[in-house]
C-alpha cells in the first residue's frame, strides 16, 4: 500500500531523527527507562512509522467489518447498530437471592444475564457432599436440581433474555435444566438464547473445575454442541476461554494463542464426530480478558479475529463466513485489581472497558472495584455497569468502527501478536495437539513462566503498579463487604432432603439408569440428561453416573 520510494525516504529520515534530535535530547535528559514494554513484555518502539508496517495491504489485512478476515469486526455496523451486550456475571447464596440481584440488574438497564454457580455446582457435587463444606453459595449460586433453577429464573421470561452460564464439566446438566425450564414456560427451544462455557480444556490447563479425564470430557462437550445444532439453533454451544489463561499469568499473545489452540481441538473433535464444520462453526464463541494496556489489548483482539478466520477457512475448509467469525465476550482483568486503594480499580476498569470497545467485543462484564477483597456489593456492581454505559454512550468509542485501525503502532502490534499466535500454534501442532501439550505441561509452564516474570518485574520495581510498588499509602480497611450467609449449606441440605423424599423414585431411578446406559454407547447423552433433570435428579447424582463410568481426572502438577 505504501510507495517503495516513499518508504525508503521515511526510513532514512527516521534514522536521521534518531541520530540527530533524539540522541541530543537523550544525552541531556535520558528516557525514563532503557526499554519500554507492554504489560505482556512486548517491547514498544519510541515511534512507529509506515516503515514498521511496510507490507501493509489494506484489503487482505483488514478488509471491512462483517467481511473476511474480520480484523475490523464481525458485524457490518458494529456498535452503531447495537451496543455490546452489558452482561454482569452474578450469583451468590440461594437461588432466591440471586434472582433478586438479576431482576435488579435488568431494571438498571443490563441486557443479558450471566450466571455464576458456586464451586460445588461447578465441580458436580451436591450441596450436602463432604467436599462442598464451606463452599455452598460462596462464589456463585448453589443449584442442585431443577427446583433451584426454577427459583433462579422466577419472573424472568426465557424468550426475552439471553443467559450465559459459566459451567463447564457439568454443562450438559445445567443446560438441560434451562431447557426443561423453558418448556415449563412454554418457550420453544428455538426461542431460547444464551451461552454455556462448556470449555473443559482451559479447566484442565488453569481453572481447575474439571471432573472427568480429557477424552470423556470432550465427548460431553461435543454431545452438547451437536444437540444444540439439531434442537437449540441459537444457543452458543461453547465459550472458548482465554480469560482464565490470562488470569493465571499468561501474556496477551499467549492468551489468544492457547485459546485458539483449544478452539482448534474442539473443531477437530466435532469433525471427528461426523459434523460438518459449517454446521457448528457459527455457534462457537470466545471469551477474553482485558487488561489496562489499551493498545496491546486492541491489537490482541484484532489479531485473534484475523487468525481465527484464517484457521476456519484454510485449515478446516469452512465456507460459511459466520463460521469464520470470532465472536467474543470480555471480562475486565480480575488480577489487575488491587486490594490497596481499591477505588483506583474503577479507573483501571474504565480503561479496560475502552480497550474492549475499541477491540470490538460482542459483550462485556466489568469487574467491581472491591473484588480483590470480596464478592462485589450492589454499589460496586452499579459503578461497574455505569462505567460501561459511560464508555458506550459518552466517550464516542462506539461511534466509529475499529477507530484505531491504520495507526502504525496498532497495526504493527496486531501483526506481531498474530505472528506470536502462529508460532505457538505451530509449536503445539508439532507436539501433537493441545491434549498432548497439556499432558506434557507445555502450556501450563508457559503460563507459569509469564506469571513469574511479571511478579519479578513488580518486586524489582521494573514495572510500576500504582498502590503496590509506587504511590503507596496507609489506609483503613474497606468495610461493608458483601457476606454470604454461612448457614447456606444447612438451608440447601434441608432442601435436598425434601427433594429426595418427595420425588417419584421410580421415574428418578429409571431416568438415571437410562442415562447410564446411553453414556456407555456413542449415543448423544443430552436427551437422557434432560429426562433426568425433569425427574428431579440432582447435579451430583447425574455427575456420579459418569464418575462411575469414566473415573475422575487427577492432573499432574507442573510447578
Amino acid at each position: 500500500m505504501f510507495d517503495k520510494e516513499k518508504l525508503k525516504s521515511v526510513r532514512s529520515k527516521k534514522e536521521e531523527w534518531d541520530c540527530g534530535p533524539v540522541e541530543k535530547v537523550c544525552a541531556k535528559f535520558p528516557e525514563r527507562r532503557p526499554t519500554f514494554t507492554t504489560i505482556s513484555g512486548e517491547e514498544v518502539e519510541r515511534l512507529y512509522t509506515p516503515a514498521d508496517i511496510a507490507d501493509f495491504d489494506y484489503e487482505s489485512k483488514l478488509g471491512f467489518p462483517g467481511e473476511y478476515p474480520f480484523t475490523r469486526g464481525v458485524q457490518p455496523t458494529m456498535y452503531r447498530g447495537r451496543l455490546w451486550t452489558m452482561r454482569q456475571y452474578a450469583g451468590f447464596g440461594t437461588a432466591r437471592e440471586t434472582n433478586e440481584r438479576y431482576r435488579y440488574l435488568l431494571k438498571q438497564g443490563q441486557t443479558g444475564l450471566s450466571v455464576a454457580f458456586d464451586l460445588p455446582t461447578q465441580s458436580g457435587y451436591d450441596s450436602d457432599h463432604p467436599l462442598s463444606m464451606g463452599e455452598v453459595g460462596k462464589v456463585g449460586v448453589a443449584i442442585d436440581s431443577i427446583d433451584d433453577m426454577r427459583v433462579l429464573f422466577d419472573q424472568i421470561p426465557l424468550d426475552k433474555v439471553t443467559t450465559s452460564m459459566t459451567i463447564n464439566a457439568p454443562a450438559t446438566v445445567l443446560l438441560a435444566m434451562y431447557l426443561a425450564l423453558a418448556e415449563e414456560q412454554n418457550v420453544p427451544y428455538n426461542k431460547v438464547g444464551g451461552t454455556v462455557q462448556n470449555d473443559i480444556l482451559k479447566e484442565i490447563i488453569c481453572r481447575g473445575q474439571y471432573i472427568y479425564p480429557p477424552l470423556p470430557s470432550m465427548r460431553l462437550t461435543v454431545d452438547l454442541i451437536k444437540y444444540c445444532y439439531e434442537h437449540v439453533p441459537t444457543w452458543n454451544t461453547i465459550s472458548i476461554s482465554g480469560y482464565h489463561i490470562r488470569e493465571a499469568g499468561s501474556t496477551a499473545a499467549q492468551e489468544m494463542a492457547f485459546t485458539i489452540a483449544n478452539g482448534i481441538s474442539y473443531v477437530q473433535a466435532c469433525i471427528d464426530a461426523g459434523m460438518e464444520v459449517d454446521s457448528f462453526g457459527p455457534r462457537l464463541s470466545f471469551f477474553y480478558n482485558a487488561f489496562t494496556n489499551v493498545l496491546e489489548e486492541v491489537a490482541k483482539f484484532r489479531a485473534g479475529r484475523r487468525f481465527w478466520a484464517k484457521i476456519m477457512k484454510e485449515r478446516f475448509g469452512a465456507k460459511n463466513p459466520r463460521s469464520m467469525m470470532m465472536r467474543y465476550h470480555v471480562q475486565t482483568g480480575g488480577v489487575t485489581l488491587t486490594a490497596q486503594q481499591p477505588l483506583n480499580n474503577i479507573v483501571r476498569v474504565a480503561l479496560q472497558t475502552l480497550a474492549t470497545a475499541y477491540g470490538g467485543a460482542q459483550s462485556l462484564h466489568t469487574n467491581s472495584f472491591d473484588e480483590a477483597l470480596c464478592l462485589p456489593t450492589e454499589e460496586a456492581v452499579t459503578v461497574a455497569l455505569r462505567t460501561q454505559q459511560v464508555v458506550a454512550e459518552e466517550s464516542g468509542a462506539a461511534d466509529s468502527i475499529d477507530p484505531l485501525a491504520g495507526s502504525y503502532y496498532v497495526e504493527a502490534m496486531t501483526d506481531r501478536i498474530e505472528e506470536e499466535i502462529h508460532g505457538y500454534i505451530q509449536k503445539i501442532d508439532a507436539l501433537g495437539g493441545t491434549l498432548k501439550a497439556i499432558d506434557e505441561g507445555y502450556i501450563q509452564r508457559e503460563i507459569q513462566d509469564s506469571a513469574y516474570r511479571f511478579q519479578k518485574e513488580i518486586e524489582s520495581n521494573e514495572r510500576v503498579y500504582v498502590g503496590i510498588n509506587k504511590y503507596t499509602m496507609e489506609e483503613p480497611p474497606l468495610t461493608n463487604l458483601l457476606r454470604v450467609d454461612p448457614k447456606q449449606q444447612e438451608i440447601e441440605t434441608e432442601k435436598l432432603k425434601k427433594l429426595r423424599a418427595t420425588r417419584d423414585q421410580e421415574v428418578w431411578k429409571a431416568a438415571l439408569d437410562k442415562l447410564d446406559e446411553v453414556s456407555r454407547t456413542d449415543e448423544n447423552v443430552m436427551p437422557a440428561v434432560i429426562e433426568a433433570v425433569k425427574a428431579r435428579a440432582t447435579v451430583g447424582e447425574i455427575c456420579d453416573v459418569w464418575r462411575n463410568i469414566w473415573g475422575e481426572y487427577r492432573p499432574k502438577e507442573f510447578v
Binding site: E135, A451, Y452, Q455
Partner: protein, 134 residues
C-alpha cells in the same frame, strides 16, 4: 558448625477453589529461596493437608484460598495439626481474605495472612523469622 536444616513447606489449596496462580508462584519462589516445597494440588480437605504435613515432616503449611472459605478451612487445619501433635508447624495463609477476618484467623492459630500485593520476599522473611526447625 552444622548446616541449618532446609525449611520444608507444604503449599495447599483447600476446598474446591481452582485459583492456583499464587500457590504455584510461591512454590517456585520458596524453592529458589532454598526451601523444600511440596505442592498438594487442588481440592484438598483439611485431613489431606494435615496428612501431607505429617508424612513430609513439614515445618510450614501455606494455605491459599480465593473462594471465601478461609474462615472454615484455615482454623480447621490448625486444629487438626494440633490433634496430631504438630503444634510447632507454622501455618500461614493467603488469597482473597478481607482485612476484618484476619484477627479471627490469627486468634485461631494462623500465624500470618498475606493478601494480594504482598511482596514474596516479605513472606519468605516472615517464614524464616518464625519457623521452628525441630
Amino acid at each position: 558448625m552444622t548446616a541449618k536444616k532446609r525449611v520444608k513447606v507444604i503449599m495447599a489449596k483447600p476446598g474446591l477453589d481452582g485459583h492456583d496462580r499464587g500457590a504455584k508462584l510461591l512454590a517456585r519462589v520458596f524453592a529458589e529461596a532454598g526451601m523444600e516445597v511440596v505442592y498438594t494440588g487442588l481440592r484438598q480437605t483439611p485431613e489431606m493437608i494435615v496428612d501431607a504435613a505429617l508424612q513430609e515432616d513439614a515445618d510450614v503449611v501455606g494455605l491459599s484460598s480465593l473462594s471465601g472459605v478461609h474462615n472454615y478451612f484455615f482454623p480447621r487445619v490448625v486444629e487438626l495439626l494440633k490433634e496430631k501433635g504438630l503444634d510447632d508447624v507454622l501455618v500461614v495463609g493467603g488469597g482473597i481474605i478481607p482485612e476484618e477476618d484476619v484477627a479471627g484467623l490469627k486468634k485461631a492459630g494462623v500465624a500470618a495472612i498475606f493478601g494480594p500485593g504482598t511482596r514474596t520476599d516479605d513472606i519468605i522473611k516472615f517464614i524464616e523469622d518464625n519457623v521452628s526447625r525441630s
